[in-house]
């Protein structure tokens, strides 16, 4: 991957791609708090599958960057144990899909213990998520809904370098267990933003309006936010339709106010996700809009999501599976034109 060969020295502080943004957040938070540590597979010399933890051991020592064998079940448990002993582990998942191997620790440990035992679990889990790289279903699925159902967890899913940086820092500083999904295409296409030189954070639980509009509200997160904005630009130019794009950024807790405020203005809503529609976060958003913003709606809330089969390998069938600006565009035309 090309960004692995770029260094921070070569670029100005003004612009950082997604990869460097995550890396900068990790470095700063490890510098800010000596209880922050990283644990996972191949994170020391290799830096994890996308290189984000590369160099951390040299900077902060072997104690704070710990390589494990392929033992997700045990090292996730261990991260819960470390949290209970006052560490702030950042657990590196090689692929977000592997959370299935440690969902017990996330649910019965991280999400339950604070409630049951009056403790804090200041744990952050980072996992590369989503499709587009032809890794197929065991490494490209969207499984945010699976854990979003459990109170006690905070679920973060940025769509830009700036958000990834600010939200990861907030997650690491949070005393609640946070799961941060990083969409792999954000790495792959080296998505960049202008960065201020000073440190900053973005509060957990606050959505962002990524494009303003008056005719329809799209609620989305992760890579599909970018596809939504792309579709909105085309619709603006070709049809004069102005679409507002709300990026949830944090899935749980969900920023209901920002969603409802937008729908109040546009009177139409569509949820756009890479995940399946059935039993999804998209369903949660749609239900929320209908429950609390029913009077503002001129039409039922539309939902776009993945077809009901696992994400496949081959380019044409994978592309047909993924959420694209074109799909969004066509759907909005059908709804509004």
């Amino acid at each position: 991957m090309s960004q692995e060969h770029q260094t921070e020295v070569e670029r100005t502080m003004a612009e950082l791609n997604f990869f460097d943004a995550v890396k900068r957040a990790l470095r700063e938070e490890m510098a800010n708090d000596d209880r922050v540590m990283c644990i996972g597979e191949d994170i020391r010399s290799h830096g994890g599958p996308y290189g984000t933890t590369k160099g951390l051991m040299e900077l902060y020592g072997e104690k704070r960057v710990i390589d494990t064998p392929i033992i997700e079940s045990a090292f996730f448990d261990a991260a819960v144990g470390l949290s209970l002993m006052g560490w702030r582990p950042v657990v590196d998942l090689m692929a977000a899909d592997f959370i299935t191997l440690c969902v017990d620790q996330v649910i019965h440990g991280a999400s339950h213990y604070p409630f049951m035992f009056d403790v804090q679990i200041p744990l952050t889990i980072r996992g590369p998520i989503g499709g587009g790289l032809r890794f197929t279903a065991s490494q490209e699925k969207s499984l945010e809904a699976m854990i979003a159902n459990f109170p006690g967890l905070i679920i973060v899913y940025p769509s830009s370098a700036l958000d990834a940086y600010g939200l990861l820092k907030s997650a690491i500083r949070s005393n609640d267990p946070c799961i941060v999904f990083e969409h792999k295409l954000l790495y792959f296409y080296s998505v960049s933003d202008e960065f201020p030189e000073d440190e900053f954070t973005i509060p957990l639980g606050e959505a962002a309006v990524k494009r303003t509009g008056t005719d329809l509200t799209i609620v989305s997160w992760g890579w599909p936010v970018r596809e939504s904005v792309k579709a909105a630009e085309v619709l603006s130019e070709t049809e004069g339709i102005e679409v507002e794009v709300v990026d949830l950024r944090t899935l749980r807790p969900m920023d209901r106010a920002t969603i409802l405020e937008s729908v109040k203005k546009t009177n139409r809503a569509m949820v756009v996700t890479e995940a399946h529609r059935f039993g999804s976060m998209g369903a949660e958003v749609a239900a929320t809009i209908q429950e609390f913003g029913f009077d503002d709606l001129d039409a039922p809330v539309a939902r776009l999501g993945a077809p009901e089969y696992p994400i496949p390998f081959s380019a044409p069938i994978q592309d047909a599976y993924l959420m694209t600006a074109d799909k969004i565009l066509q759907t909005i035309k059908e709804l509004l034109v």
């Binding site: 033992i71 144990g81 209970l84 440990g109 035992f117 804090q120 807790p253």
Partner: protein, 354 residues
């Protein structure tokens, strides 16, 4: 398959020196150990009585037969060391680490004053309070070992002097997480003792039907640390073995896998028809009842007689029932307070309430 009667404590597989703190116990300390074994048995019996009366909510998994382990483990280590029991040993260990019977009973009966505020319930309770250090049992079996291994990693990273003793049931002992944790602890020489309470049956599955080898302790060789077979009905043997393993861990020499062979005299749950074993097998095992074995030992040594035994039994029951009486007057938790416990780090814009 051999049950505990035939089990002889075997030296650790690495041949390291076996410490015997049991030989230094004073007469009073020996009587205290008996008192504790009985206290734990009686507490468990009282829970069964309350459960059978229909007053007690939830489920109950008594540990009759495990008391030598519950009583000896806290004695084998320092008060500052960490312990993590199983659903059968946890209640007793909590009591011996100084949690009052009022707080324990209050949890059993779902009261606000319970050790977990009535949110966890009997035989899953535990606490991360720093002056008790008896970590809660995780009922998804095997995960105790992983969480305790994380604690051991923290102790190592912080260069602390304490160790953690993680008790594991024989049922949980086959879980992948346990062996993943053992790999990790072996690689890093973590200050942890894995101690399997092997009571020969997991729920309704007999040990020989889930383990291809006779002794769990033999599995340790795969992880590069010693394994040791211990008669789990012999409180003094448990004391010595756990102490030896804990001191080894404290010296930085890494984990030990202890197999404490014992027997569960009662069903997995109250009302378990126990079709997986015969009455004869249970009667035979009861001949090695850790409470009776230890009582006989102390009678032989002239440390106990009928009057002393009666007195201890009476005092223990009084302690237990005094706590019960107090707990039953305690209030139930207020549902309105529950929501505020979900998150720790302040208020987020939306999202908790629905």
């Amino acid at each position: 398959m051999a049950i505990s009667k035939e089990t002889k404590t075997r030296p650790a597989s690495d041949g390291a020196e076996f410490l015997r703190p049991s030989e230094q116990l004073t007469d009073d300390q020996l009587v205290d150990l008996y008192r504790d074994i009985h206290l734990i048995r009686r507490f468990s019996e009282r829970q069964v009585e309350e459960f059978e009366s229909g007053r007690m909510p939830g489920g109950l998994h008594p540990g009759h037969g495990h008391e030598a382990i519950s009583a000896a483990v806290p004695r084998a280590v320092r008060p500052s060391d960490y312990l993590n029991g199983t659903h059968r040993s946890q209640n007793g260990i909590l009591a011996l680490r100084g949690v009052s019977f009022r707080r324990l009973w209050a949890e059993v009966f779902g009261r606000e004053t319970g050790i977990n505020g009535g949110r966890r319930g009997v035989d899953l309770m535990g606490t991360f309070e720093d002056d008790i250090r008896v970590w809660a049992h995780n009922p998804v079996l095997g995960h105790n070992a992983g969480i305790a291994t994380g604690a051991a990693l923290a102790l190592q990273l912080d260069e602390r002097d304490e160790v953690i003793v993680c008790l594991i049931g024989d049922g949980a002992s086959v879980c992948g997480t346990v062996w993943e944790a053992c790999f990790f602890a072996g690689i890093r020489k973590l200050p942890i003792v894995y101690a399997v309470e092997n009571n020969m049956v997991a729920y309704t599955t007999r040990f020989e039907d889930m383990s291809p080898i006779e002794n769990i302790s033999d599995r340790a060789s795969a992880f590069g640390f010693p394994g040791q077979l211990v008669d789990g009905n012999d409180a003094l043997a448990v004391l010595d073995a756990v102490h030896t393993a804990a001191e080894r861990a404290r010296r930085g020499e890494g984990p030990t896998l202890l197999e404490l062979k014992t027997y569960r005299f009662v069903g997995h749950f109250i009302g378990d028809p126990q079709v997986y074993r015969t009455r004869e097998e249970v009667s035979e095992a009861r001949k090695s009842d850790p409470l009776h074995l230890f009582e006989a030992l102390l009678r032989d040594r002239g440390l106990l007689d009928d009057a002393a035994v009666t007195n201890i039994h009476h005092e223990n029951l009084e302690r237990i029932d005094a706590g019960l009486a107090e707990a039953m007057l305690d209030p139930f938790p207020n549902p309105a307070d529950a929501l505020s416990r979900t998150y720790r780090s302040g208020t987020y814009p939306m999202g908790y309430s629905s």
